[in-house]
């Protein structure tokens, strides 16, 4: 619980002067995600603490090193939540890392991604300047939206010092239903449910089971449970947290884990030898013997992209970009971080 921004700023200024590469680190819970980074550690974890949370404003501001656990516990006291349901993985995840990685959990198609909830950021740019963008209000169209741009940028544009987020009321009632069905029927059901005004907040298919999470008012959740049917057991209540943090048995292989992001309605791809469908089919966790090139061509043909998420073993973690898009990224990177000191190669394997 401390403000160490001066110390972090000094370290970045020194690194900028000496052109020393830095590896930004919060809880180190997502060290495997993205391409390997060499560099001196810029340890954000000490820059911690909730700066403000006003439940009736639906806004929380926290220093980047604040653990997600702490933020979620604070929000829970007022019946609120981070609607993007960020993964904690090994438990040490921080809010800065959650935003920089841009990952949403099972609720993402309904509750938004980190970028959807970011209202403002304070950051250190590559020259060690402290800059503030956005703010603590829901509607703000003054200037370019730099705060959302930081979400999912893997630290390539700067080190997040502080973030303000829109938070939402947690649902009064949550129930998880499990239905036995084959993949085709499950995909059809997930897509159909997504098009209906029902209180769906997660939809996953794994090993012959369709898992649905309903959350909302008591009356609504109970009514839809009656209509949909399915089994409901106590064990299933922890399913979503184990899915979010990759604690399910499915994720325990020592083999490259691919993350496919594409249209939920996209057909089963040839590379999907073993797959877990989350986000009603729009996020697929895949183990496969197909090559990176084969996977990426197949996913790109569906308008999506593939990430080598864990155990990437030298494969570029991210789908290569078109040259025009890549050069735009490089120009932006150059302006935020002229000496490329931050997280070199994490996002672009060849920078």
């Amino acid at each position: 619980m401390a403000d160490i921004s001066d110390q972090l700023q000094q370290q970045v200024q020194t690194a900028h002067a000496g052109r020393t590469p830095l590896r930004i680190q919060g809880g180190n819970s997502k060290h495997f995600y993205g391409n390997p980074v060499e560099g001196e550690v810029l340890d954000i974890s000490g820059h911690s603490g909730i700066v403000s949370h006003e439940p009736t404003e639906l806004v929380l501001t926290a220093r980047a090193g604040t653990p997600l656990d702490e933020i979620e516990a604070t929000l829970a006291q007022s019946g609120q939540m981070l609607s993007f349901e960020p993964p904690h993985f090994n438990g040490g995840a921080t809010i800065g890392g959650a935003i920089a990685a841009g990952l949403g959990g099972p609720r993402r198609p309904w509750g938004g991604a980190p970028r959807d909830l970011v209202l403002g950021v304070k950051l250190l740019d590559g020259q060690g300047q402290v800059l503030s963008f956005g703010g603590q209000v829901m509607k703000n169209v003054a200037g370019y939206d730099v705060s959302r741009l930081m979400a999912g940028s893997f630290g390539a544009l700067g080190a997040i010092l502080e973030v303000s987020l829109k938070v939402l009321p947690a649902p009064a009632k949550t129930r998880t239903l499990v239905l036995d069905m084959n993949r085709d029927d499950a995909v059809r059901a997930m897509r159909e449910f997504s098009r209906k005004p029902l209180p769906l907040t997660a939809a996953c298919f794994l090993d012959g089971h369709l898992y649905l999470r309903l959350a909302g008012s008591h009356a609504s959740v109970n009514a839809w449970k009656q209509r949909i049917g399915g089994e409901e057991t106590a064990e299933h209540n922890t399913f979503w947290q184990r899915l979010r943090d990759h604690q399910l048995d499915y994720f325990q292989r020592e083999q490259t884990l691919w993350r496919l992001s594409l249209a939920g309605k996209a057909p089963r791809l040839a590379c999907e030898e073993h797959s877990l469908l989350d986000w009603a089919g729009a996020q697929r966790w895949v183990y496969t013997s197909a090559s990176a090139t084969e996977i990426r061509e197949e996913v790109a043909a569906q308008g999506g992209h593939a990430q080598a998420f864990r155990h990437a073993a030298g494969i570029d973690a991210f789908q290569p970009m078109e040259p025009l898009l890549l050069s735009l990224h490089q120009r932006l990177k150059q302006r935020f971080d002229p000496h490329a000191i931050f997280n070199r190669q994490r996002l672009f394997q060849h920078d």
Binding site: E57, A113, Q136, V141, G143, A151, Q283, G303, H329
Partner: protein, 491 residues
């Protein structure tokens, strides 16, 4: 630049455009240019050098290549309903109208995405999606006329932002033509894409970074039911507290609007919505969802409003009454226009808790500047629209109104808010940007601009002030007498 030079530049450009676009879509005569001299902010007017209306992406690319080669600035324009002068043309520049990009290309109901051309009207998307039980959530008040390309450029909001987000939260993909005529595809079929979130950067960039030539938006299932409650309060403080109490109750209303006494009286006189005219303020609180949820929540809203000190709470019994409750709110701007020769509309956002203080300050300034103000407030998301009443024919009133407005925006920044919630900076609020951002951040915005548009040819002079300009002072005004699109709802 002397006129002879502009005339020869116009001729040269027209000659080059004619090689790629039918001549009926290249406008050069003054009477043809006149309709493009301003957008919804009619106080600022310039004739463009030339107007070009390309019909497809290849033509936009060709136009941009020509302009880039000639180093001529380009202002893109959708429906021209914007309120901040974002589409104000330049006397030495090309006005690129996307009006011919008016086709809905695909409604992919299974994937909840509509792919449309940028000139498609906001409301037309929801109309096209309706047979599938879907709709497009952001609903700026001008939605019957404003185009989706302009919505992207301005990051348009509406009355349902608290629950459903702004334009930026409802986009799937964009096609952009860059300043040098390249085609950039951002986003994909999934819920994310590799690299930086350029979708977020482009949204609300006011035509400064590229030309939007195709938009894919996310669709949502149409809620089964919506219900609205209207509550009257004998003080603005109590109404403000009631908003906080509803949120604290864990309710996320689809719409939550407040009107103060001057605005609710003007609206009641105009459309007879049934508002209690003796109230100091009213709240409209709408909940939507499935039947069970709405029944449960509207009962909670009603109880909460009474506990928070409402002198009266009425729940709409049917769709007709619901429409009537909303009619007053939606007519607030024209209603104020009836009681004052001119008015000047502000668009600040504040942390909600500061509402009583901000309204007290506005009342004090109202005395100081000797001008009345009426306030309407998107209370759920903190977006305040004070309307300053003035008479442009009275010497000095316009200047006082502008000063008053500037002070309100500075107050919004002072309490931790922003100078624009949904109307954009454009030309109108470019000076107030200096109050909100220090030089370091402004320089950063210029650096981002340079990464996309190093020669600053796209909509130059808008949205981000130069540091030199920040010494100046300016303001915005909408003259009711001049208000363009008077038939459009403005709220």
């Amino acid at each position: 630049m002397p006129n002879e030079n502009l005339d020869s530049l116009r001729d040269r450009l027209a000659g080059q455009f004619q090689k790629i676009i039918a001549s009926e879509f290249i406008l050069t005569r003054e009477e043809e240019l006149r309709p493009y001299e301003c957008d919804g902010l009619s106080a600022y007017r310039h004739l463009p050098l030339i107007v070009v209306l390309p019909g497809d992406i290849a033509e936009v690319r060709a136009v941009m290549r020509i302009c880039h080669r000639e180093k001529v600035p380009v202002v893109a324009r959708g429906a021209g309903t914007g309120l901040s002068g974002g589409a104000l043309p330049l006397e030495n520049g090309v006005l690129l109208s996307l009006a011919r990009f008016s086709r809905i290309l695909d409604i992919d109901a299974e994937n909840l995405v509509a792919r449309v051309q940028p000139g498609v009207r906001n409301l037309a998307i929801s109309e096209a999606a309706k047979p599938y039980g879907l709709y497009y959530a952001p609903d700026p008040s001008s939605q019957i006329a404003c185009s989706i390309g302009g919505n992207v450029a301005e990051n348009a909001g509406g009355v349902h932002c608290l629950k459903y987000g702004l334009t930026v939260n409802n986009l799937q993909a964009l096609k952009i033509v860059t300043v040098d005529g390249e085609l950039l595809e951002i986003g994909g079929s999934g819920l994310d894409s590799p690299g930086f979130d350029l979708l977020a950067l482009m949204t609300g960039s006011e035509g400064m970074l590229g030309i939007v030539v195709e938009v894919s938006v996310r669709l949502l299932p149409i809620p089964q039911r919506a219900q609205v409650a209207m509550a009257a309060f004998d003080s603005v403080e109590k109404a403000g507290q009631a908003v906080a109490d509803i949120i604290a109750e864990g309710i996320l209303p689809a719409g939550l609007e407040m009107m103060d006494k001057p605005s609710l009286r003007a609206a009641e006189d105009f459309v007879h919505a049934g508002y209690p005219t003796e109230a100091a303020a009213i709240l409209l609180c709408e909940v939507d969802g499935d039947n069970e949820e709405v029944s449960e929540e509207i009962a909670r809203v009603r109880q909460r409003l009474l506990k928070s000190g409402a002198t009266e709470v009425r729940t709409a019994n049917d769709d007709e009454e619901r429409a009537r409750f909303w009619a007053g709110r939606k007519a607030a701007f024209p209603a104020v226009g009836r009681i004052s020769p001119d008015y000047y509309c502000m668009d600040g956002t504040i942390p909600r808790k500061h509402l009583p203080r901000v309204l007290r300050e506005i009342a004090r300034m109202s005395e100081e500047f000797k001008l009345s103000a009426a306030n309407v407030f998107h209370a759920g998301d903190g977006n305040l629209h004070p309307l300053i009443l003035y008479n442009g024919n009275e010497p000095g009133e316009l200047e006082r109104a502008e000063k008053f407005g500037g002070k309100i925006l500075e107050l919004c920044v002072e309490v931790g808010g922003t100078i624009t919630g949904e109307h954009g900076v454009g030309l109108e609020k470019i000076n107030q940007m200096c109050a909100q951002f220090p030089p370091e951040e402004l320089n950063f915005f210029h650096a981002i601009k340079a990464a996309f548009d190093p020669l600053a040819l796209l909509n130059p002079g808008k949205a981000i002030p130069t540091l030199n300009r920040c010494a100046e002072f300016g303001a915005m005004h909408v003259k009711a007498g001049d208000l363009r699109f008077p038939h459009l709802e403005r709220f």
